[in-house]
Symmetry: C2
Subunit: 254 residues, 2 copies
């Protein structure tokens, strides 16, 4: 198509181009296929490079395209439905472990996290780092903040850091017995350390899920997990069964 049609509409040019490109992705490209370079695409659709780039960014936001280092822009597979409600509380599941403990350090929590516990800003807490993996692909990177008071029986002697230490903290949390949780979801951009775990560039859009775990009337632990916004659709359900069995149907209902 030429430029005429693009100029005749009231919407921003990039928005109209996005719609046109989206239809082209459906009809002319397969999942995983590499798109022509920006110069060729801009020429093909008769638009400026800047307009093209804006349209490609939209399609990336919508999960239709993926930009991958050293590969280029490819057509994305459908987003994966990722159950959020249930998986995080199985602290110590062994074989089918979705969350892989990576490390555990001791240090301060962000001010907003400290405020959720009854600890002063700057007080040291356990910081368990985990990565959620599915079919070999990283979905989320998490830091779980656990104050000393939640894991009083934690031995200070064996495994001062690393995955073994992380497992010790999780085991103690499991022993504590949690009686509830709540969570929030917001848009964020990946910090450098999270981006590395997620195989993305720093600043890539992520869905930040903050979960508070309650025990004995207080907040026992806080998890801040960043999910890849390009590949993940977070699911929440009344029951685990429902949200998983229908996940493919619920895809891209927008």
């Amino acid at each position: 198509m030429g430029t005429t049609q693009l100029e005749s509409v009231q919407e921003p040019k990039y928005w109209h181009l996005k719609t046109v490109l989206s239809e082209a992705l459906d009809s002319d490209f397969a999942v995983g296929e590499i798109l022509p370079n920006e110069r060729d695409l801009a020429a093909r659709f008769g638009v400026a490079r800047a307009t093209l780039r804006q349209a490609l960014e939209q399609l990336e936001l919508e999960g239709r395209l993926q930009r991958r280092r050293g590969v280029g822009t490819t057509v994305a597979p459908p987003r994966v439905g990722v159950a959020v409600s249930t998986a995080q509380q199985d602290w110590t599941d062994g074989a089918g472990e979705t969350w892989q403990p990576v490390d555990c350090t001791t240090g301060s929590a962000p001010a907003a996290v400290s405020a959720m516990f009854d600890v002063a800003t700057g007080d040291a807490v356990h910081r368990v780092r985990r990565v959620r993996v599915s079919h070999g692909q990283p979905l989320a990177a998490e830091i779980l903040y656990v104050p000393d008071s939640s894991v009083p029986a934690l031995s200070a002697i064996d495994a001062p850091s690393g995955p073994a230490r992380a497992r010790s903290v999780l085991r103690e949390l499991d022993r504590l017995g949690l009686d509830g949780q709540d969570r929030s979801v917001e848009l964020g951009s990946a910090r450098a350390d999270d981006a590395k775990e997620l195989d993305r560039l720093p600043g890539a859009p992520v869905l930040v899920v903050t979960t508070r775990f309650f025990a004995a009337g207080g907040t026992a632990a806080v998890s801040v997990a960043t999910y890849r916004a390009d590949t993940c659709r977070l699911t929440f359900g009344d029951s685990g069964a429902l949200e998983i069995s229908h996940e493919e149907q619920a895809r891209q209902a927008s």
Copy 2:
């Protein structure tokens, strides 16, 4: 600061600039304040315009900045915690109505939505359009898809369209009695119609919440709601009380 420091780090330049800008926002600017223009900012931090723009985009993703038509870039207020679990099911609450019925039309649903009902793609359903407003600000725009089979007693005679029709459909849904719901959250970009309701440009990042409402073992209605990603933090809780009372504490825990 000059360019030297920016060049000495391994992270992308825009990422480092983002961190520096974020600190400047904390120390030198108030909420609502208009930022200097891009040319001045680029000069002040000794970076190229393109780098500056990338950093500003990051800060917008994180909810620190807002770009407003005709105003410029302003320092954003803290995100608002928006309870998602409970509010949608009060179909007919009058006075404290959070969701305002805007319109109701009859037409087809997107293929992904049709697949959630037992209706063929292209079959006509009721499409109730609602807007969620808080303190006069639009938070979300929604289309609620309701097949005829869920509202069999709906009168075809009075109020064929408009808000009155929307209220009729909601009243019938209320009468049906729903026995569960599940939902998913994913990143999307605002369609032109939603963007208008939300006072944003088409393509602005939104959090797309797809909710299925169950009754008598089937799916009675599907809601596709787009929340402004710049201003909203979605909250999900075991109980409504918890998620609301602590919302300010949970802010920006990342």
